[in-house]
């Protein structure tokens, strides 16, 4: 319950201004809470006279938190490839484990994982739980979920991280739900709280307009999916040592009701735009599918991949896997070059956490310039070819 202390409330309206849900309103000089309140706490945070209190009904079941220890990272492996976010997770996982004074373990699930376990150790893991079986060559929520859930129940780690990828965001929610564990989606920052060692999980919400920090006060493990490209991987260190544990798999665990008939890897190798650290985004300003070729050329010249606004995807110039934004993918590359994109809030929601944003648009008033670090006002058919030749000239010299 959100409780208003009428003696303290001065009716200043700060709570009203800060409510994303229009759920609190000043009536006759006092704050009144409405039905749409989600108890997010934004108003409590902003109240300068401390007139608002969130009264958390205490959870009846108190877990023995101290019996959970260690940081775990799910390392995604598919069709012979280790997802690059896995190494980033080991980087942040190492930091968290050191801050807690505990071990860092990696969970590797798949088939023909070969040397991958050693690689995970070189990148920071103290221990690798390896579940390698032909039945795990295709991803299924059921089998992957069963392996992960079993391991967590057996070993009781305090923290479990996974990439916020198609796979991570599919089966990890099922695992967390089975365990009754808290799971925070698509985190961009993770820290350990000094006073109690809790995991502080920070993530954007409302399409990146608001950041929220989330904790799991009375349950373990604390679970997060983490946005690719945000955390830093450690340099590989071949001298590091660790233990590889082969997980024994009960055949019943690997049976699934969902059958994978075929796995189609896109012939364009650049569909996985979330992993790419340089993206060139094209919008309706490109005029036609042919215009879009310019975007591909520019992307090629910087070894980047191609992204697009929804308008372009809807026009059929490029496939949906390339769409960035609220109803597409969220990306955080080092460099995002937006060409002929107006910068509608729904598009910006998907790319505003990029490190550097460049906008090329002939309309100086286009909202994309509000999030850009560098802007060129001009006709992209003139700007982009020049940009490509300048970049190529520079690379040659």
């Amino acid at each position: 319950m959100l409780i208003v202390d009428n003696d303290l409330c001065v009716g200043c309206g700060l709570c009203e201004d800060n409510c994303a849900f229009a759920a609190i309103e000043v009536v006759d000089g006092l704050a009144v809470v409405g039905d749409t309140c989600t108890l997010c706490g934004a108003c409590v945070e902003h109240c300068e006279v401390e007139a608002l209190v969130l009264e958390g009904a205490e959870k009846n079941v108190q877990m023995d938190l101290a019996s959970w220890s260690g940081v775990w990272v799910y390392c995604e492996f598919r069709a012979g490839v280790l997802a690059s976010v896995s190494l980033e997770l080991l980087g942040i996982g190492r930091k968290l484990a050191d801050a807690r004074g505990v071990e860092l373990s990696a969970v590797l699930i798949g088939s023909h994982t070969e040397e991958t376990a050693e690689k995970l150790i070189a990148h920071g893991a103290d221990r690798v739980y390896r579940a390698d079986d032909p039945a795990l060559s295709f991803f299924t929520d059921e089998a992957y979920g069963a392996v992960m859930t079993k391991l967590i129940r057996e070993h009781k780690p305090e923290i479990v991280l996974a990439g916020a990828t198609a796979i991570g965001r599919s089966f990890i929610p099922g695992v967390a739900n089975s365990l009754g564990a808290g799971l925070t989606a698509d985190c961009t920052q993770l820290d350990i709280r000094d006073d109690d060692g809790a995991l502080l999980q920070t993530r954007p919400a409302f399409g990146g307009n608001i950041m929220a920090t989330i904790v799991c006060p009375h349950s373990r493990p604390q679970m997060s999916t983490v946005r690719p490209n945000v955390m830093k991987a450690l340099e590989a260190d071949a001298t590091r040592t660790g233990k590889i544990i082969d997980v024994s798999l009960d055949p019943a665990m690997l049976e699934t009701k969902v059958r994978v008939l075929e796995s189609v890897i896109s012939e364009h190798d650049d569909v996985n735009i979330q992993e790419s650290d340089k993206l060139v985004g094209g919008g309706r300003g490109l005029d036609s599918e042919k215009g879009f070729e310019l975007i591909r050329e520019l992307a090629k010249s910087i070894d980047g991949s191609v992204a697009a606004s929804r308008a372009v995807v809807d026009s059929g110039w490029i496939g949906y896997p390339h769409q960035v934004g609220q109803t597409g993918k969220t990306v955080a590359p080092k460099l995002y070059i937006a060409c002929g994109i107006s910068g509608a809030i729904q598009h910006v929601a998907g790319m505003q956490s990029s490190e550097t944003i460049v906008a090329i648009n002939r309309d100086a008033e286009a909202p994309i310039f509000n999030v850009a670090d560098f802007g060129i006002v001009g006709d992209l058919f003139e700007v982009i070819p020049k940009l490509i030749s300048t970049i190529e000239g520079r690379r040659k010299s």
Binding site: M1, D17, C19, A20, G34, D35, T36, E45, A57, K59, R78, F138, F139, R169, P173, G174, A176, N177, G180, A181, A185, P204, A205, F206, G207, N209, I210, M211, T213, I214, V215, H218, T256, V258, V260, V264, I265, S266, V271, Y320, P321, Q326, T327, K334, I345, Q346, Q352, V358, F369, A372, D373, F374, G375, I376, V377, V383, K386, L387, T390, I391
Partner: protein, 259 residues
């Protein structure tokens, strides 16, 4: 075919933003809309009903106003609307939401298929669909981009992956979450609009669905929000000046570290 579609009422993203000057939320006339992904889930449910027969029930958990999205769904072809609404649900995270929706599904009774959007655009978690499937102990598949074949027993579909797509088959009962590429939602027909006005929406409380008080709302939520703040401001933007050639040259200089 009995199909349940979970729909959520969300604030329209374009209205929710922090005013850079005052650092408060500018929410002038925040409109509530049906979560965009859920519109695609609904459309697919109505298409399956048209192909295979049966009925579509739309289910929402939210404040009394969430009735609006249920009526909207009925105008687009759903048959029944169920709202679960209770002050005690406030503060629910994805675990508590999945639990509560599962209780409501049990109350609704038999079903073959549950459809959810991939994610809700307010929380962007994509966790409720899989969570609901686990609570109901049925298989789930996320991010469906195409239904290839559907009959009375089984669905064959494409699920979007980061590197392409997988073709998967699943028998009923099952839960699916869908992405935008799946279909083009229809606009309500005049007849649909008339029907939605007259439709009776069933409203259930926590007690009506037999929800355990320790599993709903804030009490039932393993995660808790402890801080909400504006995103760090981006650095000063630089509008480049000079002729296009000069601007391009400056830009390439600035981007040197990435090239």
């Amino acid at each position: 075919m009995k199909i349940i579609v979970c729909v959520k009422q969300v604030p329209d993203a374009k209205d929710v933003r922090l005013d850079p000057e005052t650092n408060t939320l500018a929410r002038e006339g925040v409109q509530s809309i049906m979560n965009p992904y859920d519109q695609h889930a609904l459309e697919e449910a109505v298409r399956l009903k048209e192909q295979l027969g049966g009925e579509v029930t739309v289910l929402s958990m939210g404040p009394p106003q969430a009735e609006d999205v249920l009526r909207q769904a009925i105008s687009c072809g759903a048959d029944h609307g169920v709202l679960i609404s209770d002050r005690a649900f406030a503060g629910a995270d994805t675990w508590a939401t999945s639990y509560t929706l599962a209780k409501a599904v049990e109350k609704i009774g038999e079903f073959d298929l549950i459809l959810c959007g991939k994610q809700a655009i307010d929380g962007d978690t994509a966790q409720v669909g899989p969570g609901l499937a686990i609570q109901l102990q049925i298989p789930f598949v996320t991010c469906i981009q195409r239904v290839r074949e559907a009959d009375e027993k089984e669905l064959v579909m494409e699920r979007m992956m980061d590197d392409g797509y997988d073709v998967v088959a699943v028998k009923y009962p099952a839960l699916l979450t869908v992405v935008k590429d799946l279909n083009e939602p229809r606009v309500p027909s005049l007849k649909g609009k008339m029907r939605s006005k007259k439709a009776k929406i069933a409203v259930f409380s926590a007690e009506d669905v037999g929800a355990d008080a320790s599993c709903i709302g804030l009490a039932g939520s393993p995660t808790q929000v402890v801080d909400v703040f504006p995103p760090p401001p981006r650095g000063e933007r630089a509008m480049l000046t000079g002729t296009i050639d000069e601007q391009v040259a400056q830009l390439v200089e600035k981007l040197a570290v990435y090239l």
